[in-house]
Amino acid sequence: MQAIQPDSEMTKKLYDIKLINQLSHGKQDLVNHILQVFIEDSQISLQNIKKGLDNADFNALRQEAHILKSSIMLLSIEELIDNIKEIEELAEKQDCLDRLIVLFSHLESHIQLTINQINKDMNAAK
């Protein structure tokens, strides 16, 4: 499920590992492991959020958005911080399914771009 990346998006830094570097005391193996886990788990979260939207299961949606929110904040994916907070809040209110679908669409595409960039950065560092 590789998204096509516009050149302008690929040149912009979509995430920041400053906080992870700080917390992991600069241990590169640990940083790489965390990024790998983020790549795996964020895609699972996206699938679960989509399922929640399809079934209008607000509880599942809120739960999964909350899990993903922690990771988005940790990786400082600025573009998605407000987005994921709004998804969590709307899911909690069990309201605005149409708005949730729009928000999810942006979340999904931007996470994919971020994953692509992380993969590219990790390969370049090898």
Binding site: N21, H33, I34, D41, H66, S70
Partner: protein, 280 residues
């Protein structure tokens, strides 16, 4: 003579599980600062302990800090410090014998706190030390053994957070045992099975949230006549009044996500110190 960096008073950087043993012991604490293996500062109080008076040349005595350590302990201590730094440990506690100016040996207990920069490079070692009456020589082993058994239950449904929390915890308590729970129900079950000494509790988890899990743990402790273990909330929720809600459900403290290392270390150490003091 080199002086400690005044922008970072040494007293503020110490962290570790046993600092209160030094700070609250009612005995004089003394400070040594080491760069590499070179002593760059030793406090006047340290000099007093070693039998020097104010009129003595301090620069002459700086060089004697290592030399005054008993030959059998000198290499051992240097090895401990080298290995601790290699493993990026935050602190170490050890006992050693030092020769005073009058020529007799006294037992000393040291609390060495290692300072690293953001990349993990070691900068300095700050040592506070106190004279150890012979009757207390085995205290180090007793406390260390207690901490080796220290069990922490982490309830967290986000794998990234779990990895980082474990790493931060192992940095402060290298020998502690970590138990992992992926949801609130698992946290309650593992608590009953393992009886950890501390719980780090995410709030928003599947099956059972952190509030409910905490309430059930507190009820279980009451019914079983168990001592209440510290439960610390770690959460990325942003609602007002959440801290109060955590405390109402029976938690002892609250840490927001993303975790800030200084806050994390302070809070964990606070409860480890209480544990250590209660188990003396």
């Amino acid at each position: 003579m080199s002086q400690p960096n005044k922008r970072q008073p040494p007293g503020k950087i110490f962290s570790g599980s046993k600092l209160s043993d030094f700070a609250d012991h009612g005995k004089t604490n003394m400070l040594i600062i080491i760069e590499g293996e070179q002593i760059i500062y030793s406090s006047p109080l340290y000099m007093q302990m070693m039998g020097y008076s104010e009129g003595d040349s301090i620069s002459a005595t700086q060089n004697n800090v290592w030399e005054n350590i008993h030959q059998d302990d000198q290499d051992k201590i240097k090895k401990i410090i080298r290995e601790d730094i290699k493993k990026k440990k935050p602190y170490s506690i050890y006992a050693l014998r030092v020769r005073t100016r009058q020529g007799h040996y006294i037992w000393r207990e040291d609390y060495a706190s290692y300072q690293y920069d953001a990349t993990g490079k070691h900068i300095r070692t700050y040592v506070i030390c106190r004279e150890l009456p012979s009757s207390e020589k085995n205290e180090k082993e007793i406390i260390t053994n207690e901490l080796n058994k220290f069990k922490v239950l982490i309830a967290e449904d986000n794998r990234v957070n779990m990895i980082l929390t474990k790493d931060l915890l192992e940095h402060i308590l290298p020998d502690c045992q970590i138990i992992e729970a992926r949801n609130g129900q698992e946290a309650v079950n593992l608590y009953k099975q393992q009886l950890p000494d501390m719980v780090l509790m995410d709030i928003h988890m599947p099956e059972k949230d952190g509030y409910q899990a905490t309430r059930e743990i507190r009820i279980y402790e009451d019914k079983s006549g168990l001592k209440k273990r510290p439960i610390i909330a770690i959460t990325a929720r942003i609602h007002e009044g959440e801290r109060e809600r955590c405390l109402e459900s029976g938690m002892n403290d609250y840490l927001p996500k993303p975790i800030q290392e200084a806050d994390f270390n302070y809070t964990i150490n606070k409860f480890v110190n209480i544990y250590t003091d209660n188990n003396k």
